[in-house]
């Protein structure tokens, strides 16, 4: 029966991006926006329809390389071929009821389709939680069949949810996955817990514990989430309104201040990805640049046909942009708490008996924590805060403290840590036994998914 050992499907649907893939891989197979373009219901004229198809396929031809990398699908996707659909529409069953519900795109194709009047774009997930179940169901449907090419009956699924997701939402997910898709098995894991599991791949981690503080920074928000023995301490979660997008904006502002030839968001984004790092000290870093010109970098912007090149000089933004995590006031005027203090605050609002474990295992997750030396700086700053406080209390009480060990764990899979953690857990032999099956669901109903047994964390 070795053929029945199909790999589990791991899906991490985030507010901005969805990561899809199979357990056992080290990175998701698809990363694309959690967006869906649905038809606006306007009766599409044939010419309209064709122009979209043309624009899609022309993009594929003229810019074949880009299309391959950027779009989640690859070849031309003219499935709205007007002649076809009209032929099918003429038969009586679909004539009675429109087939608008079948006319949609997801991911990068959705972004492309929404450029025409005919489709409207929406993001079914807001603030980590599913807002529009109709759209989400169709999003899943398309991801599973079109992109992953899997029959859900043959696979187990690992889905993720944000902390503090209401149990009703879980039940909704179960309803969709068991009733619509008949999936073989379902496990829903909390994102922060998966991020902790992903850190086990780091050589720094010696005991595979599910206690730690997760710093999850994506594009919109940064969360600080304490987890004790696999359970999120919901009351202590803190958010920072500073994340990837703010860094990009800051870089863009710097480029504009300097009057660089190209200061588009796209360029700023690319500079962020390629050149930014975290410095230990601003003044020293500025001096390094002023003494040594080699610190400055250059970014080349090419137009589509590669006929024109613009050279963009990259300077202080390399270390200043990520600095906004540690000194928010350089970019924002309404949020002033540095990330290290917020981490300290979060941990101090947790029960006293888990605090050591939380300081000891601060785990990074998400694209905006990928800057070089981010972890090192965070560790130093948190350590300074903690040591200062210990010193004060030692002076006041006169007793010697045993000290607190602060450790920030960063690892290679940080960017898609949540997905990777899911992939790690779902490839274990025991994963299937942790899943709820269709038979369980039929017997007990949707409330079975309110609880999932935690993964065995034995060493």
């Amino acid at each position: 029966m070795s053929y029945l050992n199909n790999p589990a499907v791991v899906m991490d649907n985030g507010t901005g991006l969805t990561k899809l893939g199979f357990a056992g891989n080290d990175s998701p197979s698809y990363v694309f926006p959690t967006a869906i373009a649905t038809t606006t219901g306007k009766k599409s004229t044939a010419s309209n329809n064709r122009s979209l198809d043309q624009s899609m396929s022309s993009l594929d031809i003229s810019n074949n390389t880009k299309a391959f990398l950027n779009s989640n699908s690859t070849s031309s996707t003219n499935f709205n071929n007007s002649q076809h659909s009209s032929a099918i529409l003429s038969n009586h069953l679909s004539g009675k009821r429109g087939t608008e519900d079948l006319d949609f795109y997801i991911g990068n194709e959705a972004l492309l389709a929404s450029q025409s009047q005919q489709y409207s774009l929406s993001y079914p997930i807001r603030h980590g939680q599913v807002e529009n179940w109709d759209h989400m169901e169709r999003f899943w449907e398309n991801s599973i069949f079109k992109y992953l090419r899997t029959e859900p009956e043959d696979h187990c699924f690992l889905l993720t949810e944000p902390p503090l997701n209401p149990p009703e939402n879980r039940e909704q997910v179960a309803e969709i996955f068991f009733e619509s898709f008949n999936c073989a098995g379902l496990y829903i894991a909390v994102q922060a817990v998966l991020a902790l599991a992903a850190s086990w791949s780091s050589p720094k981690v010696t005991d595979r514990s599910l206690t730690g503080t997760v710093i999850d920074s994506g594009d919109g928000v940064t969360h600080v989430i304490p987890v004790a023995e696999g359970y999120v301490i919901g009351s202590a979660i803190k958010n920072v309104p500073i994340a990837g997008r703010d860094i990009t904006n800051f870089i863009q502002q710097m480029l504009r201040d300097r009057g660089e030839l190209d200061a588009s968001l796209k360029t700023a984004e690319a500079i962020k990805q390629e050149f930014c790092y975290v410095s230990p000290d601003l003044v020293k870093e500025f001096n390094k640049y002023d003494r040594d010109g080699s610190k400055f970098a250059q970014y080349v912007v090419e137009n589509q046909d590669k006929t024109q090149r613009k050279l963009i000089d990259v300077g202080y933004e390399r270390f200043l942009a990520p600095e906004i995590f540690f000194n928010p006031e350089i970019a924002s005027s309404d949020f002033l708490t540095p990330l290290p203090s917020l981490v300290d605050d979060t941990i101090r609002s947790c029960p006293i008996d888990v605090r050591k474990g939380l300081y000891n295992n601060i785990v990074l997750s998400g694209g905006s924590t990928m800057f070089k030396d981010f972890g090192r700086r965070l560790q130093r700053d948190v350590k300074n805060i903690v040591n200062k406080r210990i010193q004060q209390s030692e002076q006041v009480s006169g007793a010697k403290s045993t000290g607190v060990d602060v450790q920030v764990v960063s690892h290679r899979r940080q960017r898609n840590a949540v997905w990777f953690g899911g992939s790690l857990l779902a490839q274990t032999g025991e994963f299937k036994s942790y899943c709820h099956t269709k038979a369980d669901y039929d017997e007990f109903g949707p409330e079975i998914v309110r609880t999932f047994s935690l993964f065995n964390v034995a060493k």
Binding site: L4, F68, E141
Partner: protein, 333 residues
Amino acid sequence: MLHLPNENLLIQKTLYEALDKFQQKSAVIIDRIVTDFDFTQFHLTTASNPTNEDELDESKIVLSYRSKAWASLLKCADNDLNLLTSYILQRLENKFSLAPATELSYDISIMIDLNDLTMNDIVQLSLFKIHVLSYPFTKSIEEFKKLQQQAIQSEEERIIQSDIIYHVENRPNQEGFYLNASSDRITVIFNTKFQDYNDQVFGKVFIQEFIDSRKRNRAIQSSPQVLFSNTPPLEIAKVCPQSKANKNEDHFITFVLFPRHFENKNVEFLTVAKILQFRNYFHYHIKCSKAYLHSRMRFRVGSFLKVLNRAKIEDEEASNVKKTVSGKKMMSF
């Protein structure tokens, strides 16, 4: 509408990215699992150096394939592995060779050289599954041509039916398809089962629509004829014993392919690709209809909730509070 491409997009994407990185002289090491419908799994890995096992050769990728259908495909090829593998390589225009060793627990491994990999090759490789499964179709078409000649030569006007029935079992529980050639047609019979009772009902509606719409709609008259039954059709009756336990469980769907469906290589390929994806399509559409029903149900629940909210008994004192249609409160001062 709900189009499932023939190509495996993920193989395409993986190979393209590998090629792109390789051409930019920053080759990456690849180790990816990719799946396809019907218990098909691919494994793309960077090949190891032939002279030194521990080193990797970044210019070569091994593509390994396994599927549930392999055993029955071998049977179709009279258990001759060489016959089957050379067929597959030939389908890929003989551009690829077998890997020195087939990867453990996989059925076939082929070697891809990034130094001369073209865009067309990538597309062909992403159709690997179809190429493999097209084997019994090619055999049947050969058979058909032979029988056709025989029929022309023989004086009597009678249809000669082949004794050979190709059976491909690509899913557990005897689900799969049968191929039988005769002198004027090729019959493809799918045996499909539904795990879920609801799916069975949906399935019936769909199949009926399949049969009916062909009759109704002139534009699609050239498509293959579709028949449906709960008992094995006569063509395969002797090789497919009917399961006695549950008569409703088995669904036999028959497609009749006429010469126009494989008149040239292009049409033939499309026919084979579409037929091979039939079961996936079928189940996909059932799932989509359920999703549609779900969204109607959610809408209904929403409108019932509105009614219920309006029916709530008001407090005496809050008589100046009126409710909107959606049940929200509206204050008047």
